[in-house]
Every structure is written in C-alpha cells, then in structure tokens.
C-alpha cells in the first residue's frame, strides 16, 4: 500500500492542527514514515541523524542573536518607538502604510523591530485610531474593529513578506537546507535572499493600496464631522 506512506504527512497535519509539541510531531512523523516504508530503526536513526547534521545551516541564525540581544539591551526598540511615534498629521491609512514600510525595510535588514505586544497595541493602533478620530470625530464600534484589524494586519504583512530578504533569516535558511537536501546545491542563502526581494516590494505596494482603499472607505462611511 503506497498510500500508507502518507501517514507521516497526516501526523504532521494533525500534530500542528491540534497544537501538539512541534518538535515531537516532526520527529514522530519522520519515524512513522520510515517504519511504514520498511526502513529498519537503525536506518531511520541514520537518515535522521545524517540530515540533521548536514542541515545545521538552517540554525545559523543563532550567530546573529548576540548582536540583536545587545542592540535591544541598549535601546533598539525604544529608538524605533521614538522614530515611528514621530509620524504626525497622517491619515489612518498613511500611518499603517508608513508602519508596514518601516517594518518591512527593518526585517529585510535583519532588524527585528515590531510585534503585536510591543508596537501594534501601544503605538500603531492608537495612532491609526487617533488619525480617524481627528478627522471624523467619535468612531462606531465596527469602524474601531476595522482599524484594529488593519493595524494588526500591517504588522503581519511587514513581518512575513520581507524577512527572507535577510540571508540569515530562518525562513531563508529553511529554503536553502530543504533544497540542498533534495540535491539542488546551487541554492544558497544569498540567491534565495535576492529572489525574495520581488515579493517583499510587492507586499509593501499592495499594503499601501489596501490602506488607500481603507482611507477612502472611512471617508465614504463616516461624515466629515469637522465640516458639518
């Protein structure tokens, strides 16, 4: 039964979907797959151990941690908050577009600023809300939710789609180690990082377009209180 070999895929899906321990899920999936495919326990340990050692490069990001750690200790996040907090007189959409752009550029340069608890809640969402209140007066519950959603979304966009532009990002290293393991040795961290640039740029442009539409929608649904 060839289809039985897919049991490992099923284990991965269930393990992640049911929020079981990720490390154990992956290892169990590997062992089960090997057993079903008729490998001996010794062969499974050999393959597992061998590829774990050859793919240590996926964990090279650890070498960058001391730099990030020291920078944070000496005020990296505080300075970033100052920088973003200095944006004045922008509309809701513009606040979010500027944040996403800075977040993406920083991620591309390995600066891991941002985060929902550190930036979105204390800084970005209040700024985006304040911009709308300044223009339209008090906001209804639904509009507040829309702005909150868009604030968190701009953090996610900036985070996800630009991080692989940095050679030492764990996503970049995963792509390299997976491809090299499958025999495509021409794949390196440098060229994966380079080919991650198009999507990083497009994601920022798309975010700006989305935020422009958000501004238009706010203008259409909320009366210009200051003018009436």
């Amino acid at each position: 039964m060839e289809v039985l070999k897919l049991i490992g895929v099923l284990v991965v899906i269930l393990g992640f979907a049911l929020k079981r321990d990720t490390i154990a899920t992956v290892v169990v999936a590997g062992v089960v797959t090997g057993l079903v495919a008729g490998m001996t326990p010794m062969e499974i340990l050999e393959v597992l151990g061998n590829s774990f050692i050859t793919q240590r490069l996926a964990t090279l990001f650890v070498l960058t941690l001391p730099i990030i750690g020291i920078s944070e200790r000496y005020g990296l996040k505080e300075k970033a908050v100052d920088f973003i907090g200095g944006i004045k007189g922008a509309t809701t959409g513009k606040v979010l577009s500027i944040y996403q752009s800075i977040r993406a550029a920083a991620a591309a340069f390995s600066v891991r600023l941002g985060g929902h608890p550190q930036f979105v809640r204390p800084l970005i969402n209040p700024m985006a809300q304040a911009a709308a209140v300044a223009k339209y007066g008090d906001l209804d519950e639904k509009t507040v939710d829309v702005i909150k959603g868009a604030s968190a979304a701009s953090e996610n966009y900036g985070n996800f789609f630009a991080q692989n532009v940095f050679m030492g990002a764990s996503g970049t290293l995963l792509i390299v180690s997976t491809m090299v393991e499958q025999g495509y040795t021409e794949v390196t961290a440098l060229n994966v990082a380079m080919w991650s640039i198009p999507v990083a740029v497009i994601s920022v442009l798309l975010g700006i377009a989305k935020n422009y539409l958000l501004d238009r929608k706010l203008a259409a649904t909320l009366s210009e209180e200051k003018e009436s």
């Binding site: 897919l6 151990g49 001391p66 920078s71 200790r73 340069f109 995963l174 021409e186 060229n191």
Partner: protein
C-alpha cells in the same frame, strides 16, 4: 579537512557553545522545576552540533529522539534567572546613543551580502557569510554601545532561550524532508497529483504548488512545516523537474505559504492573540482584514513563479 568544511564547523562549534551556555543557565536555576530536562535538551543539542559530524550518524538520530521526548513531556522551559535588560536602562541608553543603535543590526545584513560575494569569488560557501558578518557586526555593536564583553554570550543565550526549542524546527523539518524522500513520500504525492495535472502543464504545476502551500499552511498554521511536505511532494516533481529554477521556486514557495498564514486561526500568535490584545469585538477582525490581501498576493505569487522560474 578542507577549508570550507573547517570554517563551517567553526561556526557550528560557536552555536554549540551558545547552547551549552543555555544549558548552564538552566542548571543554575534552582527554582526551575524542569532544570535537568531543560539542561539535557541544550547539552544534547550542543553535542550534535559539535561532536555529531565525527561520530556514527545514528547517535545523533538517537539524540534527536531524546530531544523530542523531552519537549513532548514539556521538560524544556525557560529559566527564570536570565539577566533581562531593564526598561529604564534601555531608555537611558537609547537617548544617549540615538539612532546609531540601528547600525549593528543593519550592518549585519549589509556586510553579509558583501561577504557572500567575496566568498563566491574565493570559491567558498556563501553560507559562511552569516557567521563572518555576525562577528564583524558584533565588534561594531561593542564599539557603539561600549557594552561589557559578557553581554555577547549573555544576550545571545538569552534570546536563544526566548526562542526555545522551536528554534531548531527549520533544521528538523529539512531532516523530515530527507526522511520523506528516502521513504518515497514525495513520489506518492506526486503520483496522486499527476492524475490531476495534464502532462507537462507548467502553469498548473505552479498553481497547484502555490495553492497547496497556502492550503497546507492554513491547515497546519505553520508555513515551515508545509514547505517541507509540499515542496518535496509537489514543488520538485511538478515545477522544478519541469525546468523551474529551484532558487526562485523555493523563495516564492515559502511566501506563497505565508499567504495562507494570513488566513488561518491556526496561526494564533499572528491572528488570534493580537485580536485579544487589541480587544476587538470580532475575534476574526484581523483575518477578515487580511483575507483580500492574501488572495491577491497568492495569485501574484502564481504568476511571478510562472514567469520568473522558467
């Protein structure tokens, strides 16, 4: 040993040392109930990084089983005795150092690219660029912050313990991909998909790979896990083997998966927890905001991969 391997092993030994320091922190924390389990986790990991290449491979395989058992039984936790920097100190030094505090991290990325080109000229692996640029950026960080030397290992291991066991997930997933391939899982998926895709349709292959990445990420809530399964099963047989450039296919494949991350409550720390943090009335407010963006960007991925990879 040839120079290339030697440089690589040097960096892996440094990573191993960071793991050992994490283990020592755990051992010293008398309050930590799981201190032994946590310490064993980090020491075993260090062992595989430093000694692993010089001993029979099954020993490393065995270490991985023990590591997985430890995390499964929730024996690996963050020690409480970590020297966490104070907010006041960070604020004061941010005011003193100013925007120069961005220089170490930015130079880390820029130097990595420059070093990679130099290494390529020297016919050495460009993957060393990360380690070399990290060393230079660390020196820059010391010059700018005038931090005591001890913070190199203290802050490095602090962040490593913050990341925790999940940090080795990419490496483990690559190993899983290897096991899948050895067991012939990719072939089974490929045969299944082949019955849907007309022979040799590159566009359909690309579309199914990108959509498969997004779909599996939605189900699993994790783009990394989806990448190792779907790339082996669909990406390689239906896109790369048809002539697709593996670099471009890989780079776009993972971010196609991230489009799925935007759509799923399974990715709770990006989509659900922040909604609670922002106290939205609708707990799916973030996903609803992201859905149109995710759909458009996924379609863009399909066309980008089709036009760039071939």
């Amino acid at each position: 040993m040839e120079l290339n391997v030697l440089i690589g092993e040097f960096f892996y030994i440094i990573i191993g040392i960071i793991f050992i320091i994490c283990g020592i922190f755990a051992l010293r924390d008398k309050e930590l109930k799981t201190r032994i389990g946590t310490a064993v986790f980090w020491f075993l990991l260090a062992f595989t990084f430093i000694v692993g290449p010089h001993i029979p491979r099954w020993i490393t395989g065995l270490c991985i089983l023990v590591i997985a058992a430890l995390t499964a039984m929730n024996q690996v936790r963050q020690p409480g005795n970590i020297d966490v920097p104070s907010k006041e100190f960070a604020r004061k030094s941010a005011d003193k150092i100013g925007n120069k505090i961005f220089i170490p991290a930015v130079s880390l990325a820029l130097i990595a690219v420059v070093v990679a080109y130099v290494l390529a000229e020297l016919k050495l692996s460009t993957n060393h660029a990360i380690g070399i640029s990290a060393a230079i950026a660390l020196a820059i960080a010391f010059i700018i912050t005038k931090a005591p030397a001890k913070y190199a290992y203290k802050d490095g291991s602090r962040l490593m313990m913050n990341v925790g066991p999940v940090g080795i997930l990419p490496q483990l997933l690559a190993a899983l991909g290897a096991l899948f391939t050895a067991a012939g899982v990719g072939t089974v998926i490929a045969n299944g998909v082949a019955s849907i895709i007309p022979d040799g349709s590159r566009f359909l292959g690309v579309a199914i790979y990108c959509i498969g990445m997004a779909l599996f990420t939605i189900i699993m809530g994790n783009g990394f896990a989806a990448f190792s399964v779907i790339t082996v099963g669909i990406g390689i047989p239906f896109v790369i083997m048809q002539g697709g450039n593996p670099i471009i296919v890989g780079a776009l494949g993972l971010t196609a998966g991230y489009c799925g991350t935007l759509l799923t409550p399974m990715a709770a720390n990006f989509n659900i927890m922040p909604a609670a943090l922002l106290e939205t009335k609708d707990k799916y407010a973030i996903i609803k905001s992201q859905a149109p963006f995710a759909a458009v960007l996924l379609v863009i991925h399909i066309f980008l991969m089709y036009f760039l990879a071939f």
